[in-house]
Structure formats: structure tokens, C-alpha cells
Symmetry: C2
Subunit: 482 residues, 2 copies
């Protein structure tokens, strides 16, 4: 249940609950004659006292919407609403339609738990915490910005000054030579991948992905009917040797890679392997989608270049975002691609959303061109190092030899293996019970017993507390298995 009463509202909580239920009854969520959830259950779901729910029910009874209880049940009045409910569409059935499949159950479960219980410490989210985001910088830019809505600025490629700023940014920070016309602005990497999948691939096409990888957590590919084949990884990143054979066998149409601080493993693809991958792709004329979200977070090492910087033959569609280095609240990503692809994506976008507001694009353009950007990046890298170090320390202290991991040099999270192997579903349930959330490795296609735990989201006090809770969960599940 997504809804919660608004404690800041002048309307009493019990009345808010009564109104809410009345609307659900109106809309056929609770048809005539059906039972409402019990007072106990509602009070738990809504996080209110049971007496508040009792008051709400009294109100609804007085207004004739619900009827006297039978046993412990509260029923929706049958007479009053018969007409309405018989004519209401079967919305539940409609909601089961459509080409977009529901998201993976673990991720839904984690989100649900986090939204119901704010005391759960969040090691699951891939977002930066508020203290790592350039909130003051963005506020300063907002105050000095002018809204300029004109048709040129509403190009389907995105706000032209942002594309110009990005072309300079990509050259300066990523060694990529491109032009503003080869860039399309998206509302983040998810939309970039969605556009590529919807416009350049067809139902039944085969693609190669790293295993484990973020791509394997995306229902998006399944929704589009794309078959995914797994390229295995080790500590040096994805192994390119199987690609040629895989291509031959399954007619691979596209390769998705995340070479720098890969999500979820944090690995950095070895230089020799990069060369091999690019060579193989050129030989096979295979398009490669390079997802480069994390490079600029690099700590205790230089920022690694993207493969795209060596892409003379335009094999690579390059995807980037501000969400992992600046602010997920801006929701700005981009794709660098050849002309024919850019044109296709821009045209297709008219069917999806006609682009999005110029305002965050304006702010992003001003931010990367401002003298505030580099100091922000430096601060971000320092703070991420501190958070990583703290989490590593706590993990070693509290879980000791139960957990194995490599220390990442960039990105937002640690990739941990529990030894002895535990069951992902059991461990997640226990962790949520202890009050800590993380993402089980099997979400990304890994074997049982892996966890992705993010240190970028929690604050400095939450890290020790969260690892302590995680430790209890791991111990409890490991002991139960023995």
C-alpha cells in the first residue's frame, strides 16, 4: 500500500484514512460486499494507532459506506454501491496486460520494505546521499538561471547548450571527441538503455551481457523479448574470449559492457581485454553499448578512460549520466552515437515522451561549466573514499572471515561473497527483519550468497549500525544452515 496519512495536514488522520477508504471503495478497489482489511492490519500498514482506524471505520459507518461487522469483518455496503461496482472495469486484469513486465521480485520487496519502514538502513539504493550531492551548488545556479522556453531549446535531442557543454565535458574528462549533434540527452541511463532497446533491437534478438551485471537485473530486456547471453567475469572484468563463438552461435546483435567499476562487482576491465573486446567487435561489426556511469568517482587512482576514447570505427554507443557524480534529482543522462542512430532515437522519442523539461538541462549545463564542478567532484571522491574505508573496516570487524570482497577503487558499492554459501532469499528476509537492506547478487545473475552493499547512500553513522545488523542477519542464516 503506497498511501500513508499526511501528518502535516490540518485534516485529522482518522478522516484522511476514512476519505482514502471511501475513494478506494468508489473506485472498485473494495467492491460492494467485500471485506475491508482488519483494523489491526490497517493500523500496521498505515503506521497509526489501532484507535485511529477504529475512528475512521466509525466515520465510514456513519456515512453509510460500510456495514456492521460479521465476526471481525467490516464489509462494504452492498446496496449503496451495487451499480457502481458492476460497471467498474476490471482494472486488476488490465494491470496484468502490456508489454512491460513487472520488475524483479527482490527489488520490489526491498523497495516495499524501505517505503514501509523508514528505520531500515539503506545499503540497496544506487543513489548518492544528500550530503554527497551538490545541493548548495544547484540552488545557487537555480537562483541565477533564467527560464528560456523556445522551440529551438525543445529539440528532441535535448537542450542545445547542454549538448554543447557535454561535448566539451566529454573531451576534457573522458577523452571522447564528439559533437553536440552526436549527443542525445535522456532522463538517465535507464531511459538511454530503454531507447536503445526499443529502437535498435527487435523482439527475439540476442545480446551479450556481462555476468553478473546490472543488465541482468533489468526486466526491460525481457519486456522487449531480447535474449541475453552471459559473458563470464573474473577480477579483471569480463572475459572477451567467448564473444566470437557466442556471436557465431547465437547471432549476437549487441554487446553491453560497463568496463569501469562495473555494477555490481566494482571491477575495472583490464587494458588488454579492452583492446581484445574492441578488436573483436570491429571484426564482427558488432555494436557495443558502453555504460560509463562511475568512472569519475575513481578514488586512490586516476580516472580510467572509456573504451569509447579508442573507438575509431564508431562501434560504440556511449552512455553516461550525472546521477552517480552529481545529483540523481536532476535525472540527466546522455547517449553518444552515430548520426543515423541519433536521428532514430530522436524520432522515436516523440512517441514516448516528447523530451523533458529544459530547466534541469539548463542547470546541468551551467553546473558542468561552472568553477563549482571540479571542487564538487573532488569532495565527492574524498567522501566516497571515507565511506568505503569505513564500510570495509566495519565489515572486517563485524563479519570477519564470513565475508570476502575486493576493495573497489571507484563506484558506490562493495560486492561481497558470504562464505559458507547462504540462500539469497533467506538472507534478504533476515536482513530486512534486522533493519538493513542490500541487493542480493542473484538479482544480477550471480550465484547464491553474494550481496551488493552501497556505501554512497547511508551516512557515516548508519554504516556501522547497518553492518552490525547485516552481521546479525548473516550469522543467523549461516548458523541456521549448519
Amino acid at each position: 500500500m503506497l498511501w500513508k496519512p499526511d501528518r502535516l495536514s490540518p485534516i485529522p488522520i482518522y478522516l484522511q484514512i476514512a476519505d482514502r477508504l471511501r475513494i478506494q471503495i468508489d473506485q472498485g478497489e473494495y467492491p460492494p460486499g467485500s471485506a475491508l482489511p482488519s483494523e489491526r492490519k490497517l493500523s500496521e500498514q498505515l503506521g497509526v494507532n489501532r484507535s485511529t482506524v477504529v475512528l475512521a471505520f466509525t466515520e465510514l459507518r456513519a456515512r453509510g459506506f460500510i456495514e456492521s461487522r460479521r465476526g471481525s469483518k467490516t464489509l462494504v455496503s452492498a446496496n449503496k454501491w451495487r451499480d457502481a461496482a458492476d460497471s467498474t472495469p476490471e482494472w486488476h486484469r488490465y494491470a496484468e496486460n502490456g508489454s512491460l513486465l513487472p520488475n524483479t521480485p527482490y527489488l520490489r520487496k526491498i523497495r516495499e520494505a524501505l517505503s514501509l519502514d523508514p528505520s531500515i538502513i539503506d545499503f540497496a539504493s544506487g543513489k548518492l546521499s544528500l550530503d554527497l550531492s551538490p545541493v548548495e551548488e544547484i540552488n545557487e545556479i537555480m537562483k541565477s538561471s533564467f527560464y528560456r522556453p523556445d522551440s529551438e531549446n525543445e529539440s528532441m535531442l535535448g537542450y542545445p547548450p547542454l549538448r554543447r557543454a557535454l561535448a566539451a565535458f566529454l573531451l576534457k574528462y573522458r577523452g571522447i571527441q564528439t559533437t553536440p549533434e552526436s549527443i542525445i540527452i535522456t532522463s538517465g541511463s535507464q531511459q538511454s538503455l530503454y531507447l536503445i532497446t526499443q529502437c535498435l533491437l527487435s523482439h527475439g534478438d540476442a545480446v551479450a551481457v556481462e555476468a553478473p551485471s546490472f543488465a541482468l537485473s533489468l526486466s526491460m530486456f525481457q519486456s522487449a523479448g531480447i535474449r541475453m547471453y552471459r559473458l563470464p567475469m573474473d577480477e579483471y572484468g569480463v572475459r572477451p574470449d567467448g564473444l566470437r563463438e557466442m556471436h557465431k552461435k547465437y547471432r549476437i546483435k549487441m554487446l553491453f559492457i560497463n568496463p569501469n567499476f562495473q555494477n555490481p562487482t566494482g571491477t575495472l576491465l583490464q587494458e588488454e581485454r579492452r583492446r581484445q573486446l574492441l578488436e573483436t567487435a570491429r571484426e564482427l561489426r558488432l555494436p557495443v553499448v558502453e555504460d560509463d556511469q562511475f568512472s569519475l568517482t575513481a578514488y586512490d587512482m586516476d580516472v580510467p578512460p572509456p573504451i569509447k576514447a579508442d573507438d575509431d570505427a564508431a562501434n560504440i554507443l556511449y552512455i553516461g549520466t550525472f546521477s552517480k557524480i552529481a545529483a540523481s534529482g536532476l535525472r540527466i543522462g546522455w547517449i553518444v552515437a552515430p548520426d543515423s542512430v541519433i536521428r532514430r532515437l530522436a524520432d522515436a522519442r516523440r512517441q514516448m515522451d516528447l523530451g523533458f523539461s529544459v530547466i534541469p538541462q539548463q542547470i546541468a549545463a551551467e553546473f558542468i561549466e561552472s568553477p563549482m564542478f571540479l571542487p564538487h567532484l573532488e569532495r565527492l571522491r574524498q567522501e566516497l573514499t571515507r565511506k568505503r574505508d569505513l564500510m570495509v573496516e566495519e565489515l572486517q570487524k563485524q563479519l570477519g572471515r564470513l565475508v570476502h570482497f575486493a576493495i573497489p577503487h571507484g563506484g558506490l558499492s562493495l560486492w561481497c561473497q558470504i562464505v559458507p554459501e547462504v540462500n539469497d532469499s533467506q538472507l534478504l528476509a533476515e536482513a530486512l527483519r534486522q533493519g538493513v537492506a542490500y541487493v542480493p547478487g542473484s538479482t544480477y545473475g550471480a550465484a547464491q550468497g553474494y550481496m551488493r552493499i552501497t556505501y554512497a547512500r547511508p551516512d557515516f553513522t548508519q554504516i556501522p549500525a547497518g553492518i552490525s545488523r547485516l552481521g546479525k542477519a548473516v550469522l543467523s542464516v549461516v548458523n541456521r544452515s549448519n
Copy 2:
């Protein structure tokens, strides 16, 4: 060709053109041995002097990228680029893939013409002109806003304060009783329709639409494999009598209507017909998508209520937007729907774009709650009336009995029929030649010889000039036909 040289850049135009061509050669747009476009053609496309293109070619020749001419042709050097081009993916072929079909040719043609020639007067766009948009108001709000990116604010339903503001707005301005939890924020009506189509309908499903209608101009439905059946319209709006039979025959899954100032015809659905439609929908338990973009523009009449205000049985998914009443630069729309639908759309959205920036949502929330909103709306309605009156006057003066139309009382455009009938394709070509753009009625599924001409986009001096050009085009095509 989307690209144009940037006249404000410090880089000389000829060098910009040379760099651009080099990148296109790099990326395989012009493979080795292939011919570049002629100097004459390029100078036309780019809107520069031929001598500038000659300079760009000289530069490229000096750098070894292109070779001496054979006849009048300029060829891409074969040796230098052989390796690259043989390994470049066949991007053109990839761009032909995907489930999203290309947009309708008329609309592409119009957009192309408008982007190549800024002197064309735009009666085609459905956007408000800058002088009708609340630019100062939005600037004022931006200056006093604070960016607050936190996880609660990044809900997939959209920014919670905007949903609360919208629930109050919908009650006050549209007579719709709803809750913030029954609203999902989208980046405009196009995304609202896309979400509904992708999540609630399946490939092969049948829907009923008004004919003519905006829906019939959308490749989106074809892309999703939806079959569209047409309900005929007259001056009182869509005729509900055929719906029951159509439902029986084709198993209609959903009805799409735009009852107030319908796009493109501008008609207002008669009250008796509204009742009939809703009754039939209830009887058939048929979901109805009510698109309510234009109601608040109503001039010389009261703002008409939506059908949703009478929707006791929750048959209606209600779609609204700020684009037609405030600012298309905000790109904010919404859907009001039952819980199960809202949950489904919010989940599916994670695959598409993970939502969009909170900043425009914050601004929109503050705008509709501010004392500036109602005066803006009043001014908008007055200015639209003046623009409509001017366009009507000019049409009568310059086209006289060649054009028939009803005077609309809301919306942004006039729906005109040319008598005697003309061919849409001929008339559009001639109009663009004369320097004026409009949308041919057949785009919306109408017979030949209809035009949708927008008065909201051009300014007061462009309206007489544009109608004069349109008059010349009509006369020329009518005379040619006789």
C-alpha cells in the same frame, strides 16, 4: 540533416563544417570511396555560402580525409579509412529495427521544413507562443525555490507536494475528487498515453477512438500493435451510438476521447452524448481514457467540466497537462487512475526512465498554488481569444468562401475545410513553398482537404502574413485542380 553550424561559436564556420564532415566520415556515415554531398547541396542544407563549403572541402583535402574530384564529385579517401569502415556496425540497418515505428511522414516533413527554414510561419505546432507562457512567473518561482532531492521526493508517482497540489487543483478547477495517491506525474500527455498503451493493453488489442482525432496521428498505437476503430464525429462531438456494436464486434478494450475542444476539430462534446458514452462504458465495463488538455483555455464560455467529474464507477483514466495552459517547457502531465493501475504504471516506469527531475515538478507545484496562477490563466484566455479573432478575420478576408470552419470556444487551433476539395499532399507542399506550415487533416484520419491551423503559436504579426501565404497556396492548388 539536423546539424547546423553555430554562428555564435568562435570557431570559423568552414572549420565547423570540416570537423562535422570528418566525424561523419569517422563514424561510417560516409564510408571510404563514397561521395560527399555536392558543394551546392551542402551549402543549401547548411544555409551557408557555397564558398564556405569550398573552404571546408579544401581543409579536409589538406588533412587527407577526402580526395580530388572526379567530375563534380568529392570522394572519401579510400586508403586511410578502409580499416575503420569495414569494422563499423551497419548502423543504418540497426536504426530500422525496434518496436517503435517512425512517425507519420507529414509530421516529419513539417518539422524538417521548420528546422531548415526559420522564416516559415508555424501554424502547425501545438505549443503556446513565448508571449502566452508564464515566463516571468516561472523565473520568479525559480529564484525562490530550493532544490530538495531526497528519496521521498523521487517517488515513481512523482514529487509528492506536486501530487498534493494537483489533487486540490483538480477539485477546484475540474470538479474531480481524487487523492495524491491516485495521481501519477508524467512528462506530458504523450508519456501518459505511452504508459497506458504499454502497461494496460497488449499487442493485437482493439481500441475505439474519435475520427478525426489526435490519437490517429500517433504512431505509438501502431508501434504497440494496437488496432484502432473509428467512432465518427459531427459538430456536437463524437457519436456514441456505434460504440456498443463496435464493442461486440471487435472486443474493444479501451475508448480514447477528448471531449472538450477536441484536437483537431475543436468541438465540445454535447452533454447528452457525454451521459450516453459514460452509461455505455459502465454497461460494458469499458475503460475510458479522457484526455483533458484544453478545457482551461475556454474563452467566451464557462470552462466545461470533464466527464471524469461524473465518473462514480471509476471507468475513466483521466489525463491532464500543463503544456497547453502554462508552459510546454515544464513538460508536466498527469494521470488520475484507480490504485491497481497507478501501481502498475509506477512499477513499469522503472524500466522506462525511473521518473524525471524534481525541479520542474517543484516549480509547477508552487505555480499552481501561487496567486500568480489565476491571473496568468485569465491573461492566456484573453490573448487566445484575440489571436483566434484575428485568425478568423484574416481567413474570412483572404480566403473567403474557399474555407469553411466553425469558430472554436477553446483550444489552440482552427479546423478548416477547403472547398472545393484539394489534395493534402499538394496543398502542404505548396504551403511550405509559400512559407507557412499547418497540419493536414489526413494526419488525424480526416478526409482530404482539411487543415488544422494553430493560432496559439504565431505572434500577432505572423497571423495575417501566414494566412496570406496560406491563401496563395490554396488558390494555387485549387486553380491547378480546375
